[in-house]
């Protein structure tokens, strides 16, 4: 099996497996974030559970970080290998005649998402790590805020129109990435169903609804706070 993951097909499968994991993570992240629009108290409760549960913090969180890093590193490794497979470029290449923009530019939409993740880590993840693992404060509370702090922190981040703009742009790139990535992952796993209408439609729905939902959350809090 070790030899399998060294082969070109093995790498494709590894990319697809990490993509499935990240797509599942994105779905659960969205399910929690949308609560901030409809039920701030429940959002606080769920956020506190996610932020303090040992299984999530010490098992799932490291797995998630590994999944994110792996997907990006492998993406870059494959891009470099693929560039080497054609050292002399065509003078004229009509890629639009046979493939979508999204499928040809996964590396660029991926880099845009990576830039967003850096911003997201600076905004949310690093302060969380600092509060919990360096200061040792696992209470989920902060001075001046009644109850848990999570809703207050979330809405505070969406005050700046520049941050909201960057957030919206990043999720547009995420939608473009997913519009090819969703069915591509299934195809890499050997599913011919990836080419059938049902799965293509599920892929399109997921790729548009989830990023659009995140954009809605950002704009909702920006205009209501």
């Amino acid at each position: 099996m070790g030899g399998f993951f060294k082969s070109s097909i093995g790498r494709k499968v590894a990319m697809a497996l990490s993509a499935f994991f990240l797509m599942f993570f994105l779905l659960q992240h969205f399910s929690i974030n949308i609560l901030s629009v409809f039920n701030p108290d429940l959002f606080n409760e769920v956020s506190h559970f996610m932020g303090t549960n040992p299984l999530i913090q010490f098992v799932l969180q490291p797995v998630l970080i590994f999944g994110v890093v792996f997907h990006f590193v492998m993406g870059f490794v494959l891009e470099i290998k693929n560039k080497k497979a054609r050292k002399v470029a065509y003078v004229k290449n009509n890629g639009a005649a046979n493939s979508t923009w999204m499928s040809r530019n996964m590396i660029y939409s991926g880099v845009a998402i990576l830039a967003f993740i850096v911003l997201h880590f600076i905004d949310f993840w690093f302060p969380e790590i600092n509060t919990k693992f360096i200061k040792g404060d696992w209470s989920g509370t902060i001075e001046g805020v009644e109850g848990f702090r999570y809703y207050e922190e979330l809405t505070h981040k969406f005050v700046s129109p520049i941050r909201v703009g960057a957030y919206v742009l990043a999720f547009v790139f995420l939608a473009l990435h997913l519009l090819h990535g969703f069915t591509s992952a299934f195809q890499s796993m050997g599913a011919t169903a990836g080419r059938k209408k049902t799965l293509q439609n599920i892929g399109k729905a997921y790729s548009i609804i989830i990023p659009l939902g995140f954009i809605f959350i950002a704009l909702y809090h920006h205009f209501n706070h």
């Binding site: 097909i9 494709k12 497979a85 065509y90 003078v91 005649a97 493939s99 195809q187």
Partner: protein, 246 residues
Amino acid sequence: MNLTLKIWRQKDSNTKGQMVDYKVTDISEHMSFLEMMDVLNEQLVSSGEDPVAFDHDCREGICGMCSMYINGEAHGPDRGVTTCQLHMRMFKDGDTITIEPFRATAFPVLKDLVVDRSAFDRIQHAGGYISVNTSGNTQDANAIPISKHAADEAMDAATCIGCGACVATCKNSSAMLFVGAKVSQYALLPQGQVEAADRVRNMVAQMDLEGFGNCTNTGACEIECPKGISLDNIARMNRELMKASI
């Protein structure tokens, strides 16, 4: 029709090439693309210039030899055709046509538009066959029951002529449509089962060794394939390799 041709000229594999402009006049719209190239070469020979080297053999879409990248597409703008089946009616009077060799590190240019596609032969040698006794004791093919569906799919995969358009078209120069078709045509049939695991392992290993890129499922190969080989063959190859590796 009168045309301007921008053609890649390269003396040999060690010399740097460049695009060179040529004019051809009075081209009939009923000519095939290769016949138009013949007209150009007659013109070049009569003026004492070196004719443009390009691969061709059967000129009826079967051999897979003609390998030009025309106006940014393998075998030109038509669908389901090789370059010899591409007609000049696909172009307009006054057009400028860009003609390049298939580009891939694994397909080095030998001269002008001729590339070395022996990497495909080496992949075939690695496992694209079945070992059967053909000494006269061969079992009658009709004695082995095969479902119509499997027979049709195997036949569809076997129509691959190994032209390399998939590699030329793929932004990653991946050969997975070719290898997928060659793996599939045997994986679907009972005769291919005995060597199935070794076949896919060896053919994929050889494909990687030749320096082809990784498939990213853009689907461009399927669109440009003159024989309409389906992406399902790549999915089947992936499944076959997973099965062989577990």
